[in-house]
Amino acid sequence: MTNITGKTYAMNAITPMKPWKTWILRGFFFLLGHIKPLQADLVNLSFIHFARWVVIRRDSFPRLSAAQPAEDLQYDYLLFFSNFNGTWNQYIDAFSAVLGKGLNLVWFWSEKYPGAVPVTPFKQYIARVQFETDFYYTAYPHATTNDVKAAHRVQQALDTLADGSGNTSPAEFEQAYVRFLVSVQRDLGSTGLAPIGV
């Protein structure tokens, strides 16, 4: 059981909400889903692969068979699931520093949520509601999402260069090569081991 594989961290958190508040959150999610600029800050944190919030209504938890005792839950639940590169502290620090207001709108409806700023109570809260990852797989343990996306761009640019250089003169090729190099020069980092989390 581990939350870390290679350079990737998986975070799962689940928080209880009073059912009447769930509707407010759903309204906010509706707006967030339909107004793209509201998502910009989350998308621009490049070390985050994705982050997803899902409301689980108290009557929609699975009951696998009649033998499983029926539950009478008093709360709806908000599931947060995110994969990111870097350390737990780095992630929550960045969330708190950059996304505080947005996070507050999402989590404000959850019980005992302290707010994203200051960061210490926020970290204590996340640590308390986080549950551990049972199985975790990553195809590229030595790469971050930045690296993988960069590799795709380099591959595509290289293919384009190769396709276009069949009948070029050396001078034309040189020009095309420089253009290629400039187009991928931010994508040439290396892969390797992850730093140790603190």
């Binding site: 490049s46 520093a97 950059v98 930045n146 690296d147 400039v182 290396s190 140790i196």
Partner: protein, 461 residues
């Protein structure tokens, strides 16, 4: 924010003294009451942050302790255990976190650091040789008379003399010491570019708690600090790192690659560091040094990287861009405001003039110190994520071209344009230019805390 209580803060924390000479003495403390007696006798000599109305003194004295040192001063266990874990462990135990492995590994450190015999750092800065020697003699006398401390090693450091002139250069030839952050409540006049970037593009001082314990930090809370608060207030944490510089390797590399790079040797050096050797920021003047910028306090640290995302002016991996990325990661710099460090220190070893014969095994480098409120969030983060790693800059596992810990083989890309005068250029086979020779984490207490420590009256409650 009202003015800080400068008389309670050690002077070394509030200001870089800009004295030409320093001796950092490393002390081993007696394991009994004599350690406190030594500190008590030393107290009147310690330089505080109080304003120098009568001009600069001839010399200054400051003191800081490792966790082992605090134990020898008989701090109560409840206080000792309340320090942040990274300070409790010390720098050697953090070597894996910091990337201090391989050629920078503790096994290769000087013995006083490897054996962790240093309990205290006693820093003397001085205007002249005479003032330095006389001040150090006073210190030694206090140590001898009380029997509370002995010197297990020391590091002499001095501003480099180039052509007979005192300079702020370091051994690779770069003018150093730009861009320490401004903090709220500090008397020092604010320079644009030195604090945090505001949404309107102006700069404001950082919260005091990013440097000093006992004040609100940028996150709006008090920094993690030992108990009681009287022990913590007006104190800070210091990192001491003895950084050896391979000047011969650096010059050889510049010569060799400078012949291949269209911009030549000096531009190559500037691209590696992010400043020309005279200090001109490459971001402001990518094609040539400009002394007018260096002299202008409104300009010499006043720049951002937000309009240079491609790195065609200042390369994305350049040393100054890595270690102080400003707005390079977007969000108006908010991802960097809590990773700022204050730097202190001086070079050691004689300056080797350009063209003179120079060897890498000669004793030459910088006695480098970092001050910050939170070692893990500030110094260790910068060292681990921005110097020894590159994902925040989309550079994967690439390291800082100057400080990166490597055996020969690292690479660094100078981003360019399609203009043949400014092409992309790959600096391959980078040797290790800088090596770590030792150091540790220290606590620099405020004056009240020192008094309590010297009299054994720290009360954790």
């Amino acid at each position: 924010m009202s003015k800080l209580n400068e008389t309670d803060i050690q002077g070394f924390v509030l200001r870089g003294y800009n004295f030409p000479l320093a001796r950092y003495m490393f002390l081993h403390l007696a394991d009994d009451d004599r350690a406190g007696q030594f500190l008590d006798r030393l107290l009147p000599s310690i330089t505080t942050g109080e304003h120098w109305d009568d001009g600069k003194p001839d010399s200054t004295v400051n003191i800081a302790f490792t966790h082992k040192g605090l134990r020898r001063l008989r701090l109560p266990a409840a206080s000792l255990l309340s320090f942040p874990v990274e300070f409790l462990e010390g720098m050697q135990a953090r070597s894996a976190v910091l990337g201090d492995t391989g050629r920078n590994a503790p096994e290769r450190w000087e013995s006083i650091w490897r054996e962790e015999r240093v309990n205290a750092w006693l820093g003397v800065n001085a205007m002249s040789e005479q003032a330095l020697e006389s001040c150090c003699a006073d210190m030694l006398r206090i140590m001898e008379e009380t029997g509370g401390a002995s010197v297990v090693g020391w590091q002499d450091a001095a501003a480099l003399k180039v052509d007979g002139q005192l300079t702020t250069k370091e051994h690779f030839g770069f003018t150093d010491g730009f861009g320490n952050p401004d903090y709220l409540g500090f008397e020092r006049s604010t320079q644009p570019g030195q604090g945090k970037l505001m949404p309107d593009g102006s700069w404001a001082p950082l919260a005091t708690g990013e440097l000093l314990l006992g004040y609100a930090d940028e996150g709006g809370e008090l920094p993690v600090a030992p108990i009681p608060h009287l022990l913590a207030n007006n104190g800070t944490f210091m990192v001491y790192r003895k950084l050896h510089q391979n000047v011969a390797a650096f010059r050889r590399y510049l010569e060799e690659k400078g012949r291949q790079y269209v911009g030549g040797k000096e531009k190559l050096a500037a691209k590696l560091v992010g400043r020309w050797r005279d200090g001109t920021p490459v971001e402001l003047s990518p094609d040539s040094p400009d002394p007018a910028i260096v002299m202008d306090k409104k300009r010499n640290v006043n720049f951002t990287f937000g309009n240079d995302n491609a790195g065609t002016r200042c390369p994305i991996g350049a040393h100054v861009r890595r270690t102080n990325p400003r707005d390079a990661f977007g969000f108006e710099g908010r991802l960097t405001n809590r990773r700022r460090i204050t730097r202190r220190g001086l070079p050691y070893g004689p300056y080797a003039p350009e063209g003179a014969e120079v060897r890498d095994d000669e004793e030459r480098g910088v006695a480098f110190m970092v001050l910050n409120a939170n070692l893990a969030r500030q110094f260790e983060f910068v060292q681990q994520q921005w110097i020894e790693y590159g994902n925040d800059s989309h550079l994967g596992n690439e390291k800082d071209p100057l400080l990166g810990n490597r055996d020969e083989g690292g690479s660094f890309l100078i981003q360019g344009t399609e203009d043949p005068k400014n092409p992309p250029f790959l600096c391959g086979a980078l040797p290790g230019f800088v090596e770590l020779r030792g150091g540790d984490y220290f606590f620099i207490p405020g004056m009240t805390a020192l008094k309590m420590m010297s009299t054994g009256t720290v009360d954790p409650r």
